[in-house]
Symmetry: none
Subunit: 271 residues, 2 copies
Protein backbone atom coordinates (compact mmCIF):
# COMPACT_ATOMS: atom_id res chain seq x y z
CA UNK A 1 0.00 0.00 0.00
CA UNK A 2 3.01 2.28 -0.30
CA UNK A 3 2.00 5.64 -1.72
CA UNK A 4 3.81 8.35 0.16
CA UNK A 5 4.14 11.66 -1.64
CA UNK A 6 7.09 13.49 -0.12
CA UNK A 7 6.05 16.75 -1.73
CA UNK A 8 2.91 16.90 0.35
CA UNK A 9 2.90 18.62 3.69
CA UNK A 10 2.81 16.26 6.62
CA UNK A 11 -0.43 16.36 8.58
CA UNK A 12 0.29 16.52 12.30
CA UNK A 13 -1.37 17.46 15.57
CA UNK A 14 -4.64 16.03 16.83
CA UNK A 15 -5.40 14.10 19.99
CA UNK A 16 -2.54 12.71 22.06
CA UNK A 17 -2.13 8.94 21.86
CA UNK A 18 -1.21 7.81 25.39
CA UNK A 19 0.30 4.32 25.73
CA UNK A 20 0.23 3.01 29.28
CA UNK A 21 3.21 0.80 30.13
CA UNK A 22 3.72 -0.70 26.69
CA UNK A 23 5.98 -3.73 26.74
CA UNK A 24 7.32 -4.17 23.23
CA UNK A 25 9.23 -1.57 21.25
CA UNK A 26 7.87 -3.10 18.05
CA UNK A 27 4.36 -2.22 19.15
CA UNK A 28 5.32 1.36 19.93
CA UNK A 29 6.82 1.60 16.45
CA UNK A 30 3.69 0.18 14.85
CA UNK A 31 1.62 2.65 16.83
CA UNK A 32 3.74 5.53 15.48
CA UNK A 33 3.25 4.24 11.97
CA UNK A 34 -0.51 3.90 12.41
CA UNK A 35 -0.66 7.46 13.76
CA UNK A 36 1.42 8.89 10.91
CA UNK A 37 -0.78 7.23 8.32
CA UNK A 38 -3.75 9.18 9.57
CA UNK A 39 -2.18 12.47 10.49
CA UNK A 40 -1.62 12.12 14.23
CA UNK A 41 1.72 13.03 15.77
CA UNK A 42 1.40 13.46 19.55
CA UNK A 43 2.61 10.27 21.21
CA UNK A 44 2.89 9.97 24.99
CA UNK A 45 4.32 6.91 26.67
CA UNK A 46 3.82 6.13 30.33
CA UNK A 47 6.61 4.09 31.90
CA UNK A 48 7.63 1.91 28.92
CA UNK A 49 8.94 -1.44 30.11
CA UNK A 50 12.12 -1.40 28.03
CA UNK A 51 12.96 2.27 28.52
CA UNK A 52 13.21 5.03 25.98
CA UNK A 53 14.54 5.66 23.36
CA UNK A 54 14.02 2.17 21.99
CA UNK A 55 15.74 0.89 18.84
CA UNK A 56 13.05 -1.64 18.09
CA UNK A 57 10.45 1.11 18.16
CA UNK A 58 12.47 3.13 15.68
CA UNK A 59 12.87 0.29 13.22
CA UNK A 60 9.21 -0.79 13.46
CA UNK A 61 8.07 2.79 12.91
CA UNK A 62 9.06 2.57 9.26
CA UNK A 63 10.12 6.19 8.89
CA UNK A 64 7.40 7.68 11.07
CA UNK A 65 10.35 9.46 12.62
CA UNK A 66 8.51 12.65 13.44
CA UNK A 67 6.21 10.67 15.75
CA UNK A 68 8.97 8.67 17.43
CA UNK A 69 11.23 11.69 17.87
CA UNK A 70 8.39 13.77 19.26
CA UNK A 71 7.27 11.09 21.74
CA UNK A 72 7.23 12.22 25.37
CA UNK A 73 7.76 9.77 28.22
CA UNK A 74 6.02 10.15 31.59
CA UNK A 75 6.49 8.33 34.86
CA UNK A 76 2.83 8.31 35.78
CA UNK A 77 -0.44 8.37 33.90
CA UNK A 78 -1.57 11.38 35.91
CA UNK A 79 1.39 13.37 34.62
CA UNK A 80 0.67 12.30 31.06
CA UNK A 81 -2.86 13.66 31.33
CA UNK A 82 -2.16 16.88 33.18
CA UNK A 83 -2.74 19.33 30.35
CA UNK A 84 -5.55 17.47 28.61
CA UNK A 85 -9.16 18.58 28.82
CA UNK A 86 -10.92 15.45 27.64
CA UNK A 87 -9.74 11.85 27.54
CA UNK A 88 -11.14 8.58 26.21
CA UNK A 89 -9.98 5.21 27.53
CA UNK A 90 -10.06 2.41 24.96
CA UNK A 91 -11.21 -0.94 26.28
CA UNK A 92 -12.09 -4.28 24.72
CA UNK A 93 -15.29 -4.32 26.72
CA UNK A 94 -17.34 -1.87 28.69
CA UNK A 95 -16.46 -1.81 32.39
CA UNK A 96 -18.81 -1.55 35.25
CA UNK A 97 -19.36 2.02 36.07
CA UNK A 98 -21.02 5.16 34.99
CA UNK A 99 -18.82 6.36 32.17
CA UNK A 100 -20.38 6.86 28.77
CA UNK A 101 -19.35 4.21 26.23
CA UNK A 102 -19.13 5.20 22.58
CA UNK A 103 -17.98 3.63 19.34
CA UNK A 104 -15.00 4.82 17.30
CA UNK A 105 -17.02 6.94 14.86
CA UNK A 106 -18.68 8.93 17.60
CA UNK A 107 -15.38 9.24 19.46
CA UNK A 108 -13.62 10.53 16.33
CA UNK A 109 -16.30 13.14 15.81
CA UNK A 110 -16.31 14.19 19.44
CA UNK A 111 -12.53 14.55 19.51
CA UNK A 112 -12.62 16.61 16.32
CA UNK A 113 -15.26 18.90 17.80
CA UNK A 114 -13.33 19.40 21.01
CA UNK A 115 -10.00 19.98 19.26
CA UNK A 116 -11.68 22.49 16.94
CA UNK A 117 -12.98 24.25 20.03
CA UNK A 118 -9.45 24.54 21.41
CA UNK A 119 -9.53 21.69 23.90
CA UNK A 120 -6.60 19.30 24.27
CA UNK A 121 -7.71 15.70 24.03
CA UNK A 122 -6.23 12.24 24.39
CA UNK A 123 -6.85 8.54 23.89
CA UNK A 124 -5.54 5.94 26.39
CA UNK A 125 -4.37 2.51 25.31
CA UNK A 126 -3.44 -0.20 27.82
CA UNK A 127 -0.74 -2.80 28.11
CA UNK A 128 -0.45 -5.58 25.56
CA UNK A 129 -1.68 -8.37 27.82
CA UNK A 130 -3.89 -6.83 30.43
CA UNK A 131 -5.02 -3.52 29.03
CA UNK A 132 -5.88 -0.68 31.39
CA UNK A 133 -6.47 -1.12 35.10
CA UNK A 134 -9.79 0.05 36.47
CA UNK A 135 -8.29 3.04 38.22
CA UNK A 136 -6.64 4.09 34.95
CA UNK A 137 -9.96 3.88 33.11
CA UNK A 138 -11.28 5.92 36.02
CA UNK A 139 -9.09 8.86 35.02
CA UNK A 140 -10.79 9.08 31.61
CA UNK A 141 -13.97 10.99 30.83
CA UNK A 142 -15.50 8.28 28.69
CA UNK A 143 -14.81 4.89 27.16
CA UNK A 144 -14.45 3.98 23.50
CA UNK A 145 -14.84 0.38 22.52
CA UNK A 146 -14.69 -1.35 19.16
CA UNK A 147 -17.49 -3.33 17.49
CA UNK A 148 -15.46 -6.53 17.44
CA UNK A 149 -16.58 -10.10 16.99
CA UNK A 150 -17.45 -11.04 20.60
CA UNK A 151 -16.13 -14.58 20.08
CA UNK A 152 -12.78 -13.33 18.77
CA UNK A 153 -11.70 -10.03 20.25
CA UNK A 154 -7.94 -9.65 20.11
CA UNK A 155 -7.10 -6.24 18.72
CA UNK A 156 -3.54 -5.37 19.60
CA UNK A 157 -2.64 -1.84 20.62
CA UNK A 158 -1.30 -0.88 17.20
CA UNK A 159 -4.53 -2.05 15.60
CA UNK A 160 -6.63 -0.19 18.12
CA UNK A 161 -4.56 2.95 17.54
CA UNK A 162 -4.93 2.47 13.78
CA UNK A 163 -8.72 2.34 13.99
CA UNK A 164 -8.94 5.43 16.17
CA UNK A 165 -6.44 7.33 14.03
CA UNK A 166 -8.46 6.43 10.95
CA UNK A 167 -11.67 7.65 12.58
CA UNK A 168 -9.90 10.85 13.58
CA UNK A 169 -8.85 11.46 9.98
CA UNK A 170 -12.34 10.63 8.71
CA UNK A 171 -13.93 13.05 11.14
CA UNK A 172 -11.98 15.85 9.45
CA UNK A 173 -13.24 14.96 6.00
CA UNK A 174 -16.87 15.67 6.73
CA UNK A 175 -18.76 17.81 4.29
CA UNK A 176 -18.10 21.39 5.41
CA UNK A 177 -21.75 22.20 4.79
CA UNK A 178 -22.69 19.65 7.37
CA UNK A 179 -23.63 20.89 10.80
CA UNK A 180 -20.57 22.31 12.46
CA UNK A 181 -19.60 20.70 15.68
CA UNK A 182 -21.06 22.62 18.53
CA UNK A 183 -18.59 23.75 21.07
CA UNK A 184 -19.06 21.76 24.24
CA UNK A 185 -20.86 24.04 26.65
CA UNK A 186 -18.42 23.57 29.48
CA UNK A 187 -14.73 23.18 28.74
CA UNK A 188 -13.40 20.45 31.01
CA UNK A 189 -10.44 21.58 33.08
CA UNK A 190 -6.96 20.28 32.37
CA UNK A 191 -6.63 16.99 34.23
CA UNK A 192 -4.08 18.45 36.63
CA UNK A 193 -6.88 20.56 38.13
CA UNK A 194 -9.10 17.54 38.56
CA UNK A 195 -6.27 15.54 40.10
CA UNK A 196 -5.69 18.41 42.51
CA UNK A 197 -9.30 18.10 43.64
CA UNK A 198 -8.87 14.32 44.05
CA UNK A 199 -5.77 14.86 46.15
CA UNK A 200 -7.37 17.45 48.38
CA UNK A 201 -10.44 15.33 49.09
CA UNK A 202 -8.57 12.08 49.51
CA UNK A 203 -6.07 13.60 51.93
CA UNK A 204 -8.92 15.06 53.90
CA UNK A 205 -10.71 11.74 54.03
CA UNK A 206 -7.53 9.87 54.94
CA UNK A 207 -6.96 12.22 57.84
CA UNK A 208 -10.44 11.38 59.08
CA UNK A 209 -10.12 7.62 58.85
CA UNK A 210 -12.85 7.52 56.22
CA UNK A 211 -11.44 4.58 54.34
CA UNK A 212 -11.15 1.98 57.15
CA UNK A 213 -8.83 -0.37 55.29
CA UNK A 214 -6.55 -0.28 52.29
CA UNK A 215 -8.78 -2.57 50.24
CA UNK A 216 -11.87 -0.49 50.95
CA UNK A 217 -9.82 2.56 50.24
CA UNK A 218 -9.07 1.52 46.66
CA UNK A 219 -12.66 0.79 45.81
CA UNK A 220 -13.96 3.92 47.48
CA UNK A 221 -11.36 6.10 45.78
CA UNK A 222 -12.32 4.57 42.42
CA UNK A 223 -15.96 5.43 43.01
CA UNK A 224 -15.16 8.89 44.22
CA UNK A 225 -12.98 9.62 41.21
CA UNK A 226 -15.61 8.25 38.85
CA UNK A 227 -18.25 10.56 40.30
CA UNK A 228 -15.95 13.58 40.13
CA UNK A 229 -14.70 12.80 36.62
CA UNK A 230 -18.04 12.13 35.00
CA UNK A 231 -19.34 15.76 34.94
CA UNK A 232 -16.29 17.10 33.07
CA UNK A 233 -15.94 19.97 35.55
CA UNK A 234 -14.40 23.20 34.29
CA UNK A 235 -11.51 24.86 36.08
CA UNK A 236 -13.89 27.42 37.61
CA UNK A 237 -16.16 24.66 38.87
CA UNK A 238 -13.24 22.77 40.34
CA UNK A 239 -11.99 25.89 42.09
CA UNK A 240 -15.40 26.40 43.62
CA UNK A 241 -15.53 22.79 44.82
CA UNK A 242 -12.04 23.05 46.26
CA UNK A 243 -13.15 26.13 48.14
CA UNK A 244 -16.04 24.21 49.65
CA UNK A 245 -13.84 21.38 50.81
CA UNK A 246 -11.20 23.78 52.08
CA UNK A 247 -13.83 25.55 54.12
CA UNK A 248 -15.15 22.30 55.55
CA UNK A 249 -11.59 21.25 56.21
CA UNK A 250 -10.21 24.29 57.92
CA UNK A 251 -12.90 25.57 60.18
CA UNK A 252 -14.96 24.07 62.93
CA UNK A 253 -18.66 24.75 62.83
CA UNK A 254 -18.31 27.13 65.71
CA UNK A 255 -15.28 29.10 64.67
CA UNK A 256 -15.66 32.30 62.71
CA UNK A 257 -12.84 32.58 60.22
CA UNK A 258 -10.68 35.64 60.05
CA UNK A 259 -11.81 38.01 57.39
CA UNK A 260 -10.80 36.66 54.03
CA UNK A 261 -9.58 33.24 55.06
CA UNK A 262 -12.05 30.85 53.60
CA UNK A 263 -12.41 32.03 50.06
CA UNK A 264 -8.84 33.02 49.41
CA UNK A 265 -7.35 29.83 50.66
CA UNK A 266 -9.01 27.61 48.18
CA UNK A 267 -6.73 28.79 45.43
CA UNK A 268 -3.70 27.37 47.16
CA UNK A 269 -2.93 23.81 46.28
CA UNK A 270 -0.54 21.52 47.97
CA UNK A 271 0.30 19.30 45.03
CA UNK B 1 -7.41 -5.38 24.28
CA UNK B 2 -8.06 -9.05 24.99
CA UNK B 3 -11.74 -9.65 25.54
CA UNK B 4 -12.73 -12.82 23.75
CA UNK B 5 -15.87 -14.49 25.04
CA UNK B 6 -15.63 -18.14 24.09
CA UNK B 7 -19.29 -18.70 24.83
CA UNK B 8 -20.32 -16.42 21.99
CA UNK B 9 -20.89 -17.80 18.53
CA UNK B 10 -18.15 -16.96 16.09
CA UNK B 11 -19.22 -14.55 13.37
CA UNK B 12 -18.04 -15.83 9.97
CA UNK B 13 -18.76 -15.36 6.29
CA UNK B 14 -18.74 -12.04 4.48
CA UNK B 15 -16.61 -10.90 1.55
CA UNK B 16 -13.54 -12.91 0.56
CA UNK B 17 -10.23 -11.30 1.43
CA UNK B 18 -7.92 -12.00 -1.52
CA UNK B 19 -4.18 -11.55 -0.91
CA UNK B 20 -2.17 -11.33 -4.11
CA UNK B 21 1.32 -12.84 -3.83
CA UNK B 22 1.92 -12.02 -0.17
CA UNK B 23 5.56 -12.38 0.84
CA UNK B 24 5.64 -12.79 4.60
CA UNK B 25 3.81 -15.44 6.55
CA UNK B 26 3.60 -13.05 9.50
CA UNK B 27 1.50 -10.70 7.40
CA UNK B 28 -0.86 -13.46 6.37
CA UNK B 29 -1.28 -14.35 10.03
CA UNK B 30 -1.96 -10.74 10.97
CA UNK B 31 -4.51 -10.55 8.15
CA UNK B 32 -6.29 -13.61 9.55
CA UNK B 33 -6.36 -12.02 12.97
CA UNK B 34 -7.71 -8.73 11.64
CA UNK B 35 -10.44 -10.59 9.76
CA UNK B 36 -11.44 -12.67 12.79
CA UNK B 37 -11.72 -9.57 14.95
CA UNK B 38 -14.42 -8.23 12.68
CA UNK B 39 -16.24 -11.38 11.70
CA UNK B 40 -14.70 -12.24 8.33
CA UNK B 41 -13.50 -15.77 7.60
CA UNK B 42 -13.00 -16.29 3.86
CA UNK B 43 -9.32 -15.91 3.07
CA UNK B 44 -7.95 -16.55 -0.41
CA UNK B 45 -4.24 -16.43 -1.17
CA UNK B 46 -2.84 -16.13 -4.67
CA UNK B 47 0.59 -17.69 -5.14
CA UNK B 48 2.14 -17.02 -1.72
CA UNK B 49 5.89 -16.58 -2.00
CA UNK B 50 6.78 -18.98 0.81
CA UNK B 51 4.23 -21.66 -0.01
CA UNK B 52 1.33 -22.94 2.05
CA UNK B 53 0.73 -23.95 4.80
CA UNK B 54 3.06 -21.53 6.55
CA UNK B 55 4.08 -21.86 10.19
CA UNK B 56 4.78 -18.16 10.60
CA UNK B 57 1.27 -17.41 9.42
CA UNK B 58 -0.15 -19.79 12.00
CA UNK B 59 1.78 -18.30 14.89
CA UNK B 60 1.03 -14.70 13.88
CA UNK B 61 -2.66 -15.50 13.56
CA UNK B 62 -2.99 -15.67 17.34
CA UNK B 63 -5.66 -18.38 17.40
CA UNK B 64 -7.60 -17.17 14.38
CA UNK B 65 -7.29 -20.81 13.38
CA UNK B 66 -10.62 -21.00 11.64
CA UNK B 67 -9.42 -18.38 9.14
CA UNK B 68 -6.00 -19.95 8.55
CA UNK B 69 -7.39 -23.47 8.25
CA UNK B 70 -10.10 -22.33 5.88
CA UNK B 71 -7.72 -20.38 3.63
CA UNK B 72 -7.72 -21.44 -0.02
CA UNK B 73 -4.66 -21.04 -2.22
CA UNK B 74 -4.91 -20.24 -5.94
CA UNK B 75 -2.27 -20.16 -8.63
CA UNK B 76 -3.70 -17.18 -10.43
CA UNK B 77 -5.78 -14.16 -9.50
CA UNK B 78 -8.32 -15.03 -12.18
CA UNK B 79 -8.98 -18.36 -10.52
CA UNK B 80 -9.32 -16.72 -7.12
CA UNK B 81 -12.04 -14.44 -8.45
CA UNK B 82 -13.98 -16.95 -10.53
CA UNK B 83 -17.04 -17.34 -8.34
CA UNK B 84 -17.24 -13.77 -7.07
CA UNK B 85 -19.90 -11.34 -8.30
CA UNK B 86 -18.30 -8.07 -7.27
CA UNK B 87 -14.74 -7.20 -6.34
CA UNK B 88 -12.99 -4.13 -4.98
CA UNK B 89 -9.25 -3.58 -5.43
CA UNK B 90 -7.61 -1.72 -2.55
CA UNK B 91 -4.97 0.80 -3.53
CA UNK B 92 -3.01 3.47 -1.73
CA UNK B 93 -4.03 5.94 -4.39
CA UNK B 94 -6.61 6.11 -7.10
CA UNK B 95 -5.21 4.86 -10.41
CA UNK B 96 -5.70 6.30 -13.82
CA UNK B 97 -8.66 4.72 -15.40
CA UNK B 98 -12.35 4.66 -15.41
CA UNK B 99 -13.14 2.62 -12.36
CA UNK B 100 -15.21 4.13 -9.60
CA UNK B 101 -13.16 5.02 -6.52
CA UNK B 102 -14.82 4.88 -3.12
CA UNK B 103 -13.77 5.19 0.52
CA UNK B 104 -13.90 2.38 3.07
CA UNK B 105 -17.28 3.35 4.54
CA UNK B 106 -19.03 3.35 1.21
CA UNK B 107 -17.27 0.11 0.22
CA UNK B 108 -18.35 -1.58 3.45
CA UNK B 109 -21.94 -0.57 2.89
CA UNK B 110 -21.91 -1.64 -0.76
CA UNK B 111 -20.43 -5.03 0.12
CA UNK B 112 -23.05 -5.53 2.82
CA UNK B 113 -25.85 -4.69 0.39
CA UNK B 114 -24.53 -7.08 -2.24
CA UNK B 115 -23.94 -9.92 0.21
CA UNK B 116 -27.42 -9.43 1.62
CA UNK B 117 -28.74 -9.69 -1.94
CA UNK B 118 -26.99 -13.04 -2.37
CA UNK B 119 -23.93 -11.88 -4.31
CA UNK B 120 -20.46 -13.17 -3.54
CA UNK B 121 -17.98 -10.37 -3.08
CA UNK B 122 -14.28 -9.88 -2.53
CA UNK B 123 -11.55 -7.40 -1.67
CA UNK B 124 -8.11 -7.54 -3.30
CA UNK B 125 -4.94 -6.61 -1.43
CA UNK B 126 -1.55 -6.36 -3.14
CA UNK B 127 2.00 -7.37 -2.32
CA UNK B 128 3.83 -5.82 0.64
CA UNK B 129 6.19 -3.68 -1.44
CA UNK B 130 4.54 -2.94 -4.74
CA UNK B 131 0.86 -3.46 -4.21
CA UNK B 132 -1.33 -4.53 -7.10
CA UNK B 133 -0.24 -4.32 -10.71
CA UNK B 134 -2.43 -2.32 -13.04
CA UNK B 135 -3.78 -5.39 -14.80
CA UNK B 136 -4.75 -6.86 -11.45
CA UNK B 137 -6.63 -3.70 -10.50
CA UNK B 138 -8.21 -4.06 -13.92
CA UNK B 139 -9.91 -7.30 -12.81
CA UNK B 140 -11.80 -5.49 -10.08
CA UNK B 141 -15.12 -3.71 -10.46
CA UNK B 142 -14.12 -0.68 -8.43
CA UNK B 143 -11.34 0.72 -6.30
CA UNK B 144 -11.38 1.40 -2.58
CA UNK B 145 -8.76 3.74 -1.23
CA UNK B 146 -8.02 4.95 2.30
CA UNK B 147 -8.05 8.55 3.50
CA UNK B 148 -4.39 8.48 4.53
CA UNK B 149 -2.00 11.31 5.19
CA UNK B 150 -0.66 11.97 1.67
CA UNK B 151 2.81 12.71 3.03
CA UNK B 152 2.94 9.44 4.97
CA UNK B 153 1.01 6.62 3.35
CA UNK B 154 2.38 3.28 4.39
CA UNK B 155 -0.49 1.05 5.44
CA UNK B 156 0.66 -2.53 5.39
CA UNK B 157 -1.67 -5.24 4.11
CA UNK B 158 -2.76 -6.36 7.57
CA UNK B 159 -3.67 -2.76 8.45
CA UNK B 160 -5.58 -2.31 5.20
CA UNK B 161 -7.43 -5.57 5.82
CA UNK B 162 -8.16 -4.46 9.39
CA UNK B 163 -9.76 -1.22 8.23
CA UNK B 164 -11.92 -2.91 5.61
CA UNK B 165 -12.92 -5.70 8.01
CA UNK B 166 -13.89 -3.05 10.55
CA UNK B 167 -15.99 -1.20 7.96
CA UNK B 168 -17.63 -4.49 7.00
CA UNK B 169 -18.60 -5.13 10.63
CA UNK B 170 -19.83 -1.56 11.04
CA UNK B 171 -22.00 -1.83 7.94
CA UNK B 172 -23.92 -4.61 9.68
CA UNK B 173 -24.78 -2.52 12.71
CA UNK B 174 -28.11 -0.78 12.56
CA UNK B 175 -26.74 2.64 13.37
CA UNK B 176 -23.19 3.25 12.18
CA UNK B 177 -22.61 5.37 15.25
CA UNK B 178 -23.51 2.58 17.57
CA UNK B 179 -21.08 0.14 18.94
CA UNK B 180 -21.85 -3.37 20.07
CA UNK B 181 -22.56 -2.03 23.53
CA UNK B 182 -25.15 0.36 24.82
CA UNK B 183 -24.29 3.63 26.39
CA UNK B 184 -25.16 3.71 30.05
CA UNK B 185 -27.30 6.70 30.73
CA UNK B 186 -26.93 8.38 34.05
CA UNK B 187 -30.41 9.05 35.34
CA UNK B 188 -30.42 12.35 37.16
CA UNK B 189 -31.67 12.02 40.70
CA UNK B 190 -35.05 13.38 41.76
CA UNK B 191 -34.54 17.03 42.61
CA UNK B 192 -35.22 16.36 46.27
CA UNK B 193 -31.94 14.48 46.44
CA UNK B 194 -30.06 17.34 44.84
CA UNK B 195 -31.72 19.83 47.17
CA UNK B 196 -30.69 17.69 50.11
CA UNK B 197 -27.10 18.01 48.95
CA UNK B 198 -27.48 21.79 48.61
CA UNK B 199 -28.89 22.01 52.13
CA UNK B 200 -26.16 19.94 53.68
CA UNK B 201 -23.37 21.93 52.05
CA UNK B 202 -24.92 25.34 52.63
CA UNK B 203 -25.57 24.66 56.29
CA UNK B 204 -22.00 23.51 56.68
CA UNK B 205 -20.71 26.65 55.02
CA UNK B 206 -22.99 28.90 57.02
CA UNK B 207 -21.70 27.39 60.23
CA UNK B 208 -18.16 28.26 59.10
CA UNK B 209 -18.86 31.86 58.16
CA UNK B 210 -18.05 31.13 54.54
CA UNK B 211 -20.53 33.58 53.10
CA UNK B 212 -19.47 36.85 54.85
CA UNK B 213 -22.63 38.76 54.13
CA UNK B 214 -26.17 38.09 53.02
CA UNK B 215 -25.62 39.64 49.59
CA UNK B 216 -22.48 37.64 48.96
CA UNK B 217 -24.28 34.62 50.23
CA UNK B 218 -26.96 34.78 47.55
CA UNK B 219 -24.50 35.04 44.72
CA UNK B 220 -22.22 32.33 46.08
CA UNK B 221 -25.12 29.98 46.69
CA UNK B 222 -26.30 30.56 43.14
CA UNK B 223 -22.88 29.62 41.78
CA UNK B 224 -22.61 26.63 44.02
CA UNK B 225 -26.00 25.33 42.99
CA UNK B 226 -25.23 25.90 39.33
CA UNK B 227 -22.06 23.84 39.58
CA UNK B 228 -23.81 21.02 41.43
CA UNK B 229 -26.82 21.01 39.12
CA UNK B 230 -24.98 21.01 35.80
CA UNK B 231 -23.69 17.41 35.91
CA UNK B 232 -27.13 15.88 36.43
CA UNK B 233 -25.86 13.73 39.29
CA UNK B 234 -27.60 10.43 39.92
CA UNK B 235 -28.92 9.50 43.35
CA UNK B 236 -25.92 7.20 43.90
CA UNK B 237 -23.52 9.98 42.99
CA UNK B 238 -25.27 12.40 45.32
CA UNK B 239 -25.14 9.90 48.16
CA UNK B 240 -21.42 9.52 47.65
CA UNK B 241 -20.91 13.29 47.67
CA UNK B 242 -23.00 13.64 50.80
CA UNK B 243 -20.82 11.05 52.46
CA UNK B 244 -17.73 13.07 51.63
CA UNK B 245 -19.12 16.26 53.06
CA UNK B 246 -20.44 14.46 56.12
CA UNK B 247 -17.00 13.07 56.76
CA UNK B 248 -15.35 16.47 56.40
CA UNK B 249 -18.04 17.93 58.60
CA UNK B 250 -18.04 15.56 61.48
CA UNK B 251 -14.49 14.59 62.14
CA UNK B 252 -11.39 16.53 62.91
CA UNK B 253 -8.31 15.54 61.01
CA UNK B 254 -6.91 13.96 64.13
CA UNK B 255 -9.91 12.03 65.36
CA UNK B 256 -10.43 8.46 64.28
CA UNK B 257 -14.13 7.79 63.81
CA UNK B 258 -15.80 4.96 65.64
CA UNK B 259 -16.20 1.92 63.48
CA UNK B 260 -19.07 2.54 61.11
CA UNK B 261 -19.49 6.25 61.66
CA UNK B 262 -18.29 7.92 58.55
CA UNK B 263 -19.87 5.93 55.80
CA UNK B 264 -23.16 5.11 57.42
CA UNK B 265 -23.93 8.57 58.57
CA UNK B 266 -24.17 10.08 55.17
CA UNK B 267 -27.53 8.43 54.58
CA UNK B 268 -29.12 10.44 57.38
CA UNK B 269 -30.53 13.73 56.30
CA UNK B 270 -31.56 16.58 58.46
CA UNK B 271 -34.12 18.17 56.20
Amino acid sequence: MAGTDRNRELITGGPAIVLVEPQLGENIGMVARAMANFGLSNLRIVNPRDGWPNDKAVSAASRADHVIEGAVVFETLEQALEDLNFVYATTARPRDGHKPVVGPVEAGEALRGRENAGEKTGLLFGRERIGLRNWEVGLADAIVTFPVNPAYASLNIAQAVLLMSYEWMKSGLADPHQTAFARPEVTPAPKADLHGLFGQIERGLDARGYFRSETKRMKTVDNLRAVLTRPGFSTAEINLLRGLFASFEKFDRTRQPDEGDALRDHGETEE
